[in-house]
Subunit: 367 residues, 4 copies
């Protein structure tokens, strides 16, 4: 019921502020017997971390995960896993000058109106620092999905400002700091980001995330729809302003004969639906996409109000990504993985763990 | 926890199949003392109903709401409201020939893979018939929001295939069967729909929904974000494939200086955020948009598979809207109203009912 | 989240007032494929019904269950089952004189303080009429538990005022109107109840309920303990004031060497624990007991206050059981069955459906 | 939804094993602005701690609480409070010899059957060590209830084996290591415990807990009843086997004329109900009682089985309380306080924060 908890059966509760003593999470409902070691979190946390390249914030976060509970002799015991990361790089002085102002585009004003009090250090709870724990929890979900069902979850940056991929190659994605699927465009992206940083401005982005191998039948009807939960999961990521499943907004101008995915015993003929019909997986690739707004923290001055109601000008002098979308890829993967694992557990609760009903339609011909 | 329930404190549980004996809902958590009469549901149910005009399905649904509980002498008592609508127009023969086939673009196959059994009559539980009860529940939420906080929720069709509004006038929306905000375009829409119906094809649409008067502070951080819950709520509506808050996917190509809504003591200078920052309302207009796919039930034949695994051709002969998006407007309003009322109750649980903190930023100049 | 809903994965939501148009429930999360017909509810509803004998209230409730949804061709489809019972015997005149008074021992005053409004007709929502739907939902749970796992749930009256069973025979329980396990005592009970009715007074009772065949492992730690949920389930029944698991309050005076159930490869040596250790089933018989207070509605006058704050005397002239505990047996069975089915689904969600780990301790030698 | 979480709006999630690196909790939903400092936890943690006197376990737990999040400049911010206690006194060697055996009366066997794996160090998750975090969370709830509503929560040991209080004086309770309400009996209790310890055996106990000042109206009907939630809360405490509200099991032999609490404008005439009718507070003192079984860990040998299925004899050599009930008092207080705070938040969500309706019945004359 807590709004800092995610998931019905695999429940992840996160806590912590950007510049408090620590951030952490409690993961409950994980099946027993899963092997997990503290060092397994490093890869995805590094992918998410600022400081990965000069194209994201220079801030360095050590992000050492300590497992506080739920693991015995290297395996999950079925009791809650608690993960803790100490905040080592707090530099609260960067933010002290804005404690009395509402930064435009930030949650400063809305938090203050809600609670009448706010932690201004680094954005407090509203900082994207919180997503570190989502990525950590996602490591558990990805591993279990892969081991138990052969499901894989991957993502990539599908748009940076107005730039879109010219080609597509999964193997390129992890070889550049942009999670970009076309290696040939990387110099162009670097030049774009350098110019953007010099200008002091920022830009939006789009991230696509897909899951392969999801068995038909995962998901639930009505208010527990797989696509509904993916939408909530992605929209809950900082800076996200839009979510699509399959063809998304492109469906608006499509005809029914274009959109509907015809079926043959050899497989679906297309995947406009993004692998979900009626809220339940069809067995095709799950495809989701999200839009991220440009960073609001800019060193270009902007008008705002202070807590006394006076007009003031705000300039953000700290370290900030000119495009928060770049490092959102592993966060989106984590959220999709958490939704899928939760739905997998819910599915076997109600329907057992018997696998699919015959006849089964093979995955679509195109993915 | 039930996936047929929506909301944490205002909890709406719906039940019923398209061609079963009845559909209904249980609304729990409604504050006591709200005046409500059975006839108050008629207006929005009529707006949602097929048969409103020749541009939606000819099927006529009487949709008489019976209040079974929770009301005494015309006022809510604080105990669960149960609403019931008998299904009077079932014509199950329209669907009998497709019981053994999986209609492309429908939930037939995914439900069958999940449950190993499905109710083929009119789509069973996956039919948009279920949304009738959302609209009914939304009537309660709209009324309470308006009476208690002066919040209004309205929607309109913002795109029909490739057609977009040339002008905008709220007063036009309720005066045409398309919920279209420019009266001058209505003949064009009628001609478009007539041609579409003749062709046997269907088309997608976009619906926008807004809330005015939402106090700053409603909403919750992280996984209970107001925008995250709106996304889930809209994505849970049949045929929806995408959701946007504020500028949505347009944010991808925006610069930070364009997107961030500057603040002056006289008000926000713009509303690119759609009234939500950090998951919490800013006091500006809440703006959301959703994409609906074209109807998949077509009288144009399409390839599919039957339950034996054989390739077959499917033709849908029943009554169907060539654009389901048209009547989705009141459904989107209902879902937004339900999210807001639930968040309002949650807000006063944690933070009391004290209203806003000074200084308050007036609503944006442009909305 | 609704307080009118019970269970996490098998979720039962009830609605309706004693003298409103109808009572009903929505059962969500039931596995698909379970055969169920409307007439299957009759047996347990009859067991619960007033009018079973002269020893409970003379009020006759037809209690015809209509299945509104969730069943297709006689089997559950995995979507919500809605059950409806029309209230046919309302006689609201019996209660009209007490609308302005707070009956001692009833929820009149507490409901009124909570909501500022209450439905006085027959106790409204606080009437034991609501438990009819628990019994109906329990029919589903009992059947599934028996078919899927061989689990049986049974109960009996274990104390009526100061009278306790002299002997114990399960086969006697269903053959007398008291659910009493010793047939020889039935005349004594009848005489006692006749005298009680003549006196105008009422008396308390105790009901025991047991489950056989529960696999070791069902249940969850900490706040989802099987015994914790049984306690909440039984305490939620009208008039219940105490709950015990296994030896219950007798444990207070026991020594550790007495209480701990020793184990041999041939089985547990005793069952003081009532089949639950650490919140999780041991595989022994689950044993719970509950105390019910005497009926508060009496034709003997009692002091109270009216809604204006004046001292008044109240006399209840309607039909009332002099011992509500007698017909509580099927209600207790239903609640225990609902808890067990919910925990069974939760167990297979997290731990799969693989059955027990070797070595398994056989059920206790004494039950 | 997590079974390691407690409460709907004030949600406490605990984690940690007895001999793991740490135990902790996340408290979500706390209203903003509550002053709280790490040292405020010390008093109740000390009351709960083993080592308080020679009559409970000699194990010394430092139990330094670190606040990891949710507090800024000494006040709660409305975001999750995370509390952490490092386990400093682990001595896992005490338990190594029982890793392969199932201790009678412990959760060893049931956990192993559930999960197929268990953490044997000090009982792992099933240890009463977990209740430390309940007490810590209860400190928050007690403080908020007292400051916001003037509600106080207190408890005492009401039975030790066969010994019951001869007199009653609240002021005595905190002045002896037994939480006993009659100072004159303390020497008798000490002698009894010394003899018990020498014998190697253990004994059960009863704890009573009461809340004063609870406004009428807190609580919810049906499955969210205040008494139902108290029952679940108390039964979830280690070793608890029974729960009573008000007269509890004594109600079984009472007549209706005895039990019903008559009302006069000057107040209730008695409080057999324990302050709750229909699941909702009446404004009288809330009274609950719980039975605790005797400690199962004994140095007197007992028969059991090992994980290979062999008959073995178990002797527990570690430090254990001969009566776990003695230190259960602050745990029971914490659970009652958490239930009340959660219900208080739920009440103001649905019904606002307006206080009581006139006329109000004063608290009962006897408490």
């Amino acid at each position: 019921m807590s709004s800092n908890s995610f998931g019905k059966l695999l429940t992840v509760t996160t806590f912590g502020e950007s510049h408090g003593p620590a951030i952490g999470c409690v993961i409950d409902g994980c099946p027993p017997g899963l092997e997990i070691a503290p060092e397994e979190f490093a890869h995805d946390l590094q992918r998410r971390a600022t400081g990965k390249s000069r194209h994201t914030s220079a801030r360095r976060e050590a992000d050492e995960v300590e497992i506080l509970s739920g693991v015995y002799e290297g395996r999950t015991t079925g009791t809650p896993l608690a993960l803790l990361i100490r905040n080592t790089d707090q530099r609260s002085k960067d933010y002290s000058n804005i404690a009395a102002q509402f930064r435009p585009g930030h949650a400063d004003y809305s938090y203050w109106q809600k609670y009448g009090i706010r932690d201004p250090r680094g954005g407090g709870r509203s900082s994207a620092r919180e997503t570190t724990m989502r990525v950590a929890a996602g490591v558990i979900a990805k591993k279990w999905l892969r081991q138990r069902y052969g499901v894989t979850v991957r993502g990539y940056l599908s748009q940076l400002g107005a730039i879109t991929p010219a080609g597509f190659d999964w193997s390129a994605v992890e070889d550049n700091p942009f999670f970009w699927p076309d290696a040939a465009q990387v110099p162009e992206l670097e030049a774009y980001m350098d110019a953007l940083r010099k200008s002091g401005d920022s830009v939006g982005a789009r991230v696509d995330v897909v899951a392969d191998g999801v068995p038909p039948g995962w998901g639930e009807p009505i208010y527990g729809k797989l696509d509904g939960e993916i939408a909530a999961a992605l929209m809950s990521i900082n800076a996200v302003k839009g979510v699509e499943i399959g063809d998304g907004f492109a469906s608006v101008v499509q005809k029914g004969t274009e959109h509907r995915d015809l079926i043959t015993p050899a497989g679906f003929q297309s995947n406009h639906a993004g692998g979900i019909l009626g809220g339940i997986a069809t067995g095709q690739q799950i495809v989701a996409s999200m839009a991220l707004k440009p960073t609001s923290s800019l060193r270009l001055p902007g008008a705002t109000m202070d807590v006394e109601g006076n007009a003031v000008e705000v300039v953000t002098t700290g370290r900030h990504d000119p495009c928060v979308g770049i490092r959102a890829t592993p966060i989106a993967e984590a959220m999709l993985a958490l939704v899928l694992m939760d739905q997998a557990l819910r599915h076997r609760a109600q329907c057992g763990d018997v696998g699919v009903v015959a006849p089964r339609i093979p995955g679509s011909l195109d993915g």
